[in-house]
């Protein structure tokens, strides 16, 4: 792993995104002897997966799967990783892709930083921790999270009070307040776009009034509440720290809804909600848990059994789309929903004290503006062929994981491997053609 590179560095392949898809693609390429550059926008690789508590349908610990992958990539001799770096544009000419990168300043010299965290302990400025979805606090200079890679401190200039304490305590003089953004262009033969997803905002549907209650939360917030090393170390509702007694999951809260412009199914929400409901019933054995759904889409291997297990565990499933959520005085939330399987009294008022809006996936990055890659109508990267499912419209640029459309971790890893295979086949064929002349 080497973060000090310049434009003379010419990797065989460049991977956009250091989440589970990007890391899997990079490892599969690097293991074939190809030089790979991984470009990650955040300060640590690991993507969304490193922030999850457990994965479905096996309930394996997400960190225990992601951390070894992160570590393997970071220590691989053929893999170079640039964090805090964005792809600004890709210009393709004569089969070579010129990738324009913007390295954002971290105000810490990574060659000098030894990850001792003395700066973090000394810093007296805190802000809501983005890794914990805004719950808990993090210092203005800090290693992004416990198992972040690289284990280097990063200074957040927006929240820094420029008091200079970190520079004074740093044993290796790694703090550089005068760092500037740095642009460089990397020439490479193949690119894999693994730029991942965002969850749709919980305020996207005004009828759900998420801006009026702290107890209407995103599923990623619940992941952090459920994680053993999460912000509170236990499940408490954010507004007042009460142990929730009645929790609602609202399915299709940010997808399959043309009124908010996301008509497609996000594919993972049913399963992650069922998983979260199961974990919640373990964490809060006395809580009532209800999942409001339109259809349960448990399509993968072992998924239907997982759904049946959840029902057997006593999790309530109510078929009906939640139309409106009203915050009530006293902190409870009133859900307006028709139980479409109930003949008598289908629209009784339902009260809960914590509501999770199962938001769907939307694209994390729009490459169509500045690269030869095209996007489909849904905003995800367009693929061109059923027989080459990771090929984009641009030769030599491939796509993997949720950049191509909503999918779960199992499918993402399989697709990342496929993208790496197609990319290496492309690269070796190109080399063979060059030899033949």
């Amino acid at each position: 792993m080497n973060t000090q590179i310049d434009s003379s560095f010419t990797p065989d392949a460049l991977v956009v995104g250091g989440g589970i898809a990007g890391l899997q693609s990079a490892l599969d390429l690097a293991d074939q002897g190809l030089k790979v550059l991984v470009v990650e926008r955040q300060a640590s690789i690991g993507g969304h997966m490193i922030a999850l508590s457990k994965v479905f349908p096996t309930l394996d610990c997400a960190s225990c799967i992601t951390t070894p992958k992160m570590s393997a990539a970071a220590h691989h001799e053929n893999i170079t990783i640039l964090t805090s770096t964005e792809v600004e544009a890709i210009e393709s000419a004569g089969g070579v892709h010129h990738v324009k990168l913007l390295q954002k300043p971290t105000y810490v010299n990574f060659d000098k930083c030894i990850g001792c965290r003395l700066c973090e302990y000394a810093c007296d400025t805190e802000y809501p921790d983005p890794f914990e979805e805004g719950l808990g606090a993090v210092k203005a200079i800090a290693v992004p999270f416990t198992n972040a890679i690289p284990q280097k401190a990063v200074l957040n200039a927006e929240h820094c009070s420029t008091c200079g304490t970190c520079a004074r305590v740093c044993p290796t003089d790694a703090i550089e307040f005068d760092q500037q953004p740095r642009r460089l262009t990397i020439a490479t033969d193949a690119v894999i776009v693994a730029s991942g997803f965002k969850l749709n905002s919980i305020t996207v549907k005004p009828q759900y009034n998420a801006q009026r209650s702290q107890d209407i939360i995103s599923p990623l917030t619940l992941e952090r509440l459920l994680a053993p090393h999460g912000p509170y170390g236990r499940v408490l509702r954010p507004s007042d720290g009460k142990i929730p007694g009645s929790i609602a999951f609202v399915q299709c809260a940010g997808s399959r809804d043309e009124s908010i412009g996301v008509p497609y199914c996000s594919r993972v929400c049913c399963m992650y909600s069922i998983k979260q409901a199961m974990l919640l019933s373990g964490a809060l054995p006395l809580a009532d848990i209800t999942i409001y759904y339109m259809d349960i889409r448990a399509f993968g291997k072992g998924y239907e059994q997982f759904f049946q297990n959840a029902k057997a565990m006593g999790i309530n499933f109510v078929r009906g789309k939640v139309a409106r959520i009203d915050p009530l005085d006293g902190g409870d939330l009133s859900l307006h929903v028709e139980n479409t399987e109930e003949a008598e009294n289908p629209i009784a008022e339902r009260r809960h004290d914590l509501v999770v809006l199962a938001q769907g996936m939307i694209p994390g990055w729009n490459p169509a503006a500045a690269t030869p890659v095209a996007c489909a109508a849904d905003g995800f990267v367009a693929t061109t062929s059923l027989t080459a499912p990771t090929a984009t419209v641009a030769p030599g640029i491939f796509v993997a994981g949720t950049a191509a459309g909503p999918k779960d971790i199992v499918d993402t890893i399989a697709e990342a491997g496929a993208a790496a295979m197609q990319a290496s086949q492309y690269l070796f064929q190109k080399r063979a053609e060059a030899l033949v002349g």
């Binding site: 299709c252 009124s259 139309a323 929903v337 139980n339 289908p346």
Partner: protein, 390 residues
């Protein structure tokens, strides 16, 4: 009892709506519309159930459901529908379909399904009234009073005949709806007792006159989406203007006939004349707002308009306009022009009444009856001796 499924029910309803623009087959029955509806109550869910009935061809249930007429088309369901299946428009189309099915003459189907049919029926009715009225027309001079030109007693006689025929047709339609409702309730073993019917009639008619539920609809809408519209533009107020104005004109005309000799001159400040003129203006205000909203076609319930949506308010507006012009003509030496305006007004008014059970005007029958049935349905079910033993 065997249930008959009408497999073409949905396509028939679509023909009463805006055709392919009505995409209710996209509905996957998530229940959002029912949950968001300000009028849905614990025991009665619509629009989803009504849409389901149409999707699976449950025609008897659909035509027996008074829920159709309890919807005032606020459009909240359409605004929030995840499939953009337009439940509000579906409800409107289903009401139009119900008007066609309750009408035993078959003319309503013609009127509501096609522009041509609508105009044909209108033209035939207009011709009939023209011929009937012309039969007793006096070839008086241009300065003759209106009622010398067209004898008042003859208008009265034709009018009474018309009311009798239309009344009969309306009664058949309402009985048809009532019978379906009752049969469906009996089928489900939840028929309300007949003894509770008179009370239900009172509360249903009061609801229709006072717009109790219409206002409830409005209150929820205003709470959900500020900024609030001024009162005079809110749908229920606009509707009250049209309905109140119309009732005032009806009352004025009736009292005019009862209290003073037909065609006798009266000063402009004669109370009945003032009531009629005021009613006409108020009614015209409401109709103007309604029609302008359809022309602008911006907000949800007025975004899509079928020909039938234009026809009834336009016919009513034309009748009121010619009526007001006639009132003016009485006091002005307009000669032949005055005679023509008067004649056109009488023909249009008769068209309006004749087409009552066929056009959207029929909602005065069926919505009122639906509110009665709704009130009746909520009456406690009588427990029979057999039930008690079981």
């Amino acid at each position: 009892m065997a249930r008959v499924v009408n497999t073409s029910l949905l396509s028939n309803i679509k023909r009463h709506g805006k055709g392919s623009a009505l995409d209710v087959s996209a509905c996957f029955n998530c229940g959002n519309c029912t949950a968001v509806c300000p009028l849905a109550e614990e025991t009665a869910g619509f629009p989803r159930r009504v849409i389901r009935m149409a999707q699976v061809g449950m025609e008897p249930e659909l035509l027996a459901s008074e829920e159709l007429w309890r919807c005032y088309a606020c459009g909240e369901c359409t605004r929030t529908c995840p499939r953009q299946a337009d439940p509000a428009e579906f409800m409107a189309a289903a009401r139009s379909y119900a008007i066609s099915r309750y009408d035993f003459t078959g003319l309503a189907g013609l009127v509501n399904r096609s522009i041509f049919g609508n105009l044909l029926v209108f033209a035939v009715f207009s011709l009939v009234f023209e011929l009937l009225l012309s039969a007793k027309m006096n070839p008086a001079g241009p300065q003759a009073p209106l009622f010398r030109f067209l004898p008042g007693w003859w208008i009265h006689d034709v009018g009474v005949g018309l009311f009798a025929v239309v009344g009969l047709s309306a009664a058949f339609g309402m009985i048809s709806m009532f019978a379906r409702f009752r049969a469906e309730r009996v089928h489900h073993g939840s028929a309300p007792p007949l003894a509770a019917l008179p009370g239900a009639v009172v509360s249903g008619v009061l609801d229709a006159l006072l717009h109790t539920r219409f206002r409830q609809c409005d209150a929820a809408e205003q709470a959900a989406a500020p900024p609030t519209e001024p009162l005079v533009l809110r749908p229920w107020f606009v509707h009250v203007s049209v309905m109140g104005g119309f009732l005032a004109m009806l009352l004025a005309t009736t009292l005019d006939y009862l209290l003073k000799p037909i065609g006798s001159p009266a000063p402009p400040w004669y109370p009945m004349r003032l009531l009629g003129a005021a009613g006409g203006l108020v009614c015209l205000y409401g109709l103007t707002v309604m029609l302008l909203r359809r022309i602008r076609a911006k907000e949800v319930p007025w975004r899509k308009s079928a020909f039938a949506d234009w026809f009834f308010p336009s016919l009513l507006a034309a009748t009121v306009l010619t009526g007001l012009a006639t009132e003016t003509a009485v006091y002005l030496p307009l000669g032949r022009i005055g005679h023509t305006i008067f004649f056109v007004h009488v023909v249009l008014a008769m068209d309006l009444i004749a087409m009552l059970p066929l056009t959207k005007f029929a909602h005065v029958l069926y919505r009122t009856l639906a509110l009665v049935l709704y009130s009746w349905r909520r009456a406690p079910v009588a427990v029979t001796a057999a039930d008690a033993e079981a």
